[in-house]
């Protein structure tokens, strides 16, 4: 049963995966790019941002949670799918406050990178929700600005699955759903800079910031300056 080979097609290209893999895992192994935000290597997939949406045998599904099956037909880089993804990335931009020029995560922000990938270079059709949540700077080493949060839950899963700490968790529902901390504020949690949840790269945007290392990489050597996510 283990390593049972599954063969299927992504945009007409034959891909081999193993039973139990998700479409995204198989695509990654085959070098086929599927954009994503809430999914990151090393954490269980969550399927919440929906940016990795593909069509499987004509029906949409999140490729980070959809298992591969023999003979399936996957549509990935089509005009229709790109439009969906562009809309989703736009929604996330407009839900929070994303002022790239003054954000510490600029240049290493995965949302910004997807903005470039989908040609979102200026304000567009959607309204701005402009949240106004207080910034939590209580912790000596960590700053939390949830106005930039995209609800991807990577910090929550990293804290739970890697750090075994449960520093973060979702609270509220609907548009009021946000990331809460396990205490009255960050200072009253056991979060530390060494945590996977706090590590650079876990938060895909500029919501979780480590103090005293602001703008640590100069323009030109930031994560995405030379390696655009979509064009590896």
């Amino acid at each position: 049963m283990a390593n049972e080979i599954v063969t299927f097609k992504i945009d007409g290209v034959e891909v081999r995966g193993t039973k139990g893999q998700t479409i995204m895992e198989a695509a990654d192994a085959a070098g086929i790019h599927i954009p994503r935000l809430c999914d990151v290597e090393g954490l269980d997939p969550q399927g919440s941002c929906r940016v990795c949406t593909v069509k499987v045998n004509g029906r949409t599904a999140a490729s980070c949670t959809q298992p591969v099956a023999d003979g399936m037909t996957v549509e990935n880089d089509t005009t229709e799918i790109r439009n969906y993804r562009r809309d989703l990335v736009r929604m996330l931009y407009h839900e929070g406050n994303h002022l790239c020029p003054c954000c510490e995560a600029s240049g290493r922000c995965e949302l910004q990178e997807l903005g470039y990938e989908f040609g979102i270079l200026q304000p567009d059709k959607y309204p701005y929700l402009q949240p106004n949540r207080p910034v939590d700077a209580s912790h000596p080493d960590i700053l939390l600005d949830t106005n930039r949060c995209i609800r991807c839950g990577r910090c929550i899963r990293a804290s739970r699955q890697v750090d075994h700490k449960n520093v973060f968790g979702y609270v509220g529902r609907g548009i009021h759903k946000q990331v809460g901390v396990n205490g009255t504020d960050m200072a009253h949690t056991n979060a530390a800079v060494g945590d996977k949840a706090i590590a650079i790269g876990t938060c895909p945007v500029g919501c979780i910031i480590q103090k005293r290392i602001g703008f640590f990489a100069p323009i030109g050597s930031r994560r995405f300056d030379s390696k655009p996510g979509g064009k590896q």
Binding site: G47, S48, T53, D87, L92, K125, L129, R173, K177
Partner: protein
């Protein structure tokens, strides 16, 4: 210290079991009037969870509250049907009599006044919940009297002067709710239905035969999705496991639906019989009936029904003498979350989690409650299961159409003379339903609830069946004076409030849809905005994670198709090169406030802005 001991007792009552979080939080909420930060810390410590996780659950369900609630919480039903029946006036009346605004608590902590989505009383609105007591057919006068009475007695049960028909008068229900059964069909509402015949027949055969009988009857799920019931049971039975569960979905939250309320009141035995048959079919020994918090007034009656069934050997060990067939049911109270009507969200809630849908696959029949194979079925579906085993699949499949077998309970409400429950055979035309209900001037009919189908007069020849108009039972009728865009706006408000927020398109996209509908209603929109609505709807439908998100845009798309003239009458074309969706006055307001003066160009009188302008 009092909080400490109260909360610890609440946790201990449910064995400090993390999985019984809903029950624990209900117990705390009832004792303290809230689940405050201190209580969350204690619960977390008792059940070995974390504070943020408890906070996540408390803030997910609208009936739980971090802030102190009054001893008596009055929740006015804010459904669109109740609004049309005058619920705003009722809210104003309570507000005036109690001296508190909606959303507030009285200074002496006696009363809280709130609005809540559909409480399942659309056939007798305006309605309200006073703690667990239901008030129906409210008028300004009856609302004032109720408020005064409550101030005197502080006891909601004194509000029930005259009880409703049928079991609403039962000593354990004592509710003023009426069943309003208008048409009895052969399957569910006819008189003289046995509460054990189906089960007896089932136990005479093998479990596989029971599944075959249900499959042959052609029964499909009555909650709205219409999945073949026999197939669902077969899948749950064939998954290898040491334990399986049967769950009855009585979280009837679809706006305008109230048929499960009537079944739970008048056919409670049949519901549990259906669960028992399903349990026998798949090999389950434990069942859960998930009851929405709004129907808490039925809880003592349902518990009593279960107890009677245990006493008569219809539940418990070796049911009806069948050696080795054990089954029992517990009732799980919900806490105000529409999304929990979605089966995997309902399972999350039963497990004591935030009521968020689970990733599928695996499906509940493979990996459901506590990761065991679980068959989740609607109340009406389970009643049908019991009846099919009583009367046979041939009898059942002889009713209805070729692809839609049996009868369907319709909850008809809104602008009609006879709102209530109609048990009709599948295949009936909407126009016939409207005729029976006395809705001769109906202009808009919403079939299937907020995410259903909106149709105008030109489509009243459509039929109720799975291949034409599929519905969980909600039929909302709107007369010619009702505002289509107002109805669409209401549905979007409902979805935005009830979205669990898990996935981007539903959480954010629905808010954006509503923003644009409101802009159209204000007259600041152009033709391009209709394309915007269509595109956004398409993305939300295609990329949402569950049925809530994928059906939320239906009201927009249906109304655009059925009532294009309503939209076009609100649109403005470009003037002076200004984008008509740009509301210059609204944009200037902020600048006026900051600059403390009016605009030289856009205000007729240039000068200082005075306070309050």
């Amino acid at each position: 210290m009092e909080v400490q001991s109260t909360v610890k007792q609440a946790c201990a009552k449910f064995g400090n079991d993390r999985g019984r979080m809903m029950d624990i939080l209900w117990e705390v909420q009832k004792k303290l009037g809230c689940v405050n930060d201190e209580a969350m810390e204690i619960v977390a410590a008792q059940v070995k969870s974390t504070r943020v996780e408890i906070e996540g659950i408390v803030t997910f369900y609208s009936f739980f509250s971090r802030e102190q609630k009054g001893k008596i919480v009055i929740r006015i039903c804010d459904d669109i049907i109740d609004r049309h029946a005058g619920s705003e006036l009722i809210a104003e009346t309570f507000s005036r009599e109690l001296g508190i605004a909606v959303g507030q608590i009285s200074p002496d902590k006696s009363f809280s006044l709130e609005l809540t989505p559909c409480i399942g009383m659309s056939d007798q609105g305006p309605a309200a919940l006073v703690n667990e007591t239901v008030m129906t057919n409210l008028t300004v006068q009856s609302a004032s009297e109720a408020a005064r009475q409550l101030k005197k007695t502080m006891d909601p049960s004194t509000l029930v002067v005259k009880t409703g028909d049928g079991n609403n008068g039962h000593k354990l229900v004592k509710s003023m709710v009426n069943n309003n059964i208008r048409l009895k069909g052969d399957v569910l509402l006819s008189d003289g239905i046995s509460a054990s015949a189906g089960l007896k027949n089932a136990l005479k055969t093998a479990p596989a035969d029971v599944i075959r009988e249900i499959t042959e009857s052609g029964l499909r799920g009555r909650g709205g999705a219409g999945f073949p019931t026999g197939e669902k049971l077969r899948l749950a039975a064939q998954t290898k496991a040491d334990k399986r569960y049967v769950i009855c979905n009585a979280d009837e939250g679809e706006p305008g639906t109230f048929k499960d309320r009537v079944l739970l009141t008048e056919r409670a035995d049949l519901v549990f019989e259906g669960m028992t048959v399903a349990a026998y079919a798949i090999g389950s020994d434990s069942g859960i009936l998930y009851l929405r918090a709004e129907y808490a007034y039925l809880l003592p009656f349902l518990e009593d029904t279960l107890e009677n069934r245990r006493k008569t050997g219809l539940l418990g060990k070796n049911i009806l003498g069948k050696s080795g067939f054990d089954f029992d049911v517990r009732i799980q109270m919900g806490a105000g979350a529409y999304i929990c009507g979605e089966e995997s969200a309902l399972i999350s809630s039963c497990e004591g989690l935030r009521g968020e849908p689970k990733n599928r696959p695996p499906f509940p029949v493979e990996k459901g409650y506590l990761s065991k194979p679980t068959a989740v079925n609607n109340v009406e579906t389970l009643c049908c299961v019991a009846r099919i085993l009583d009367r046979g699949s041939a009898w059942f499949s002889g009713i209805g159409t070729k692809a839609s077998k049996g009868t369907k309970l319709l909850s008809v409400c809104g602008d009609c003379e006879k709102p209530g429950i109609y048990e009709v055979p599948f295949g009936i035309e909407i126009s016939e339903v409207l005729r029976m209900a006395g809705a001769l001037d109906a202009a808009i009919v919403q079939v299937g609830g907020a995410g259903g189908v909106m149709i105008g007069r030109g489509s009243f020849d459509k039929k109720i069946c799975f291949s034409d108009l599929a519905t969980g039972g909600s039929i909302m009728v709107f007369g010619p004076d009702r505002n289509v865009l107002g109805i669409v706006d209401y549905f979007l408000e409902f979805f935005a409030d009830e979205s669990c927020g898990y996935c981007t398109p539903c959480r954010v996209g629905v808010v954006f849809l509503r923003e644009r509908i409101q802009q159209i209603m204000r007259g600041f929109a152009e033709n391009a905005d209709l394309d915007y609505l269509r595109d956004l709807s398409k993305t939300i439908k295609a990329t949402s994670r569950c049925g809530l998100g994928s059906s939320a845009p239906n009201c927009v798309l249906n109304s655009l198709e059925q009532f294009p003239l309503v939209y076009s009458s609100h649109l403005k074309e470009h003037k002076d090169g200004i984008n008509s969706s740009f509301d210059i006055q609204k944009a200037l307001d902020e600048s006026r406030r900051i600059a403390k003066r009016k605009s030289m160009i856009y205000d007729p009188v240039y000068g200082e802005v005075t306070d309050g302008e």
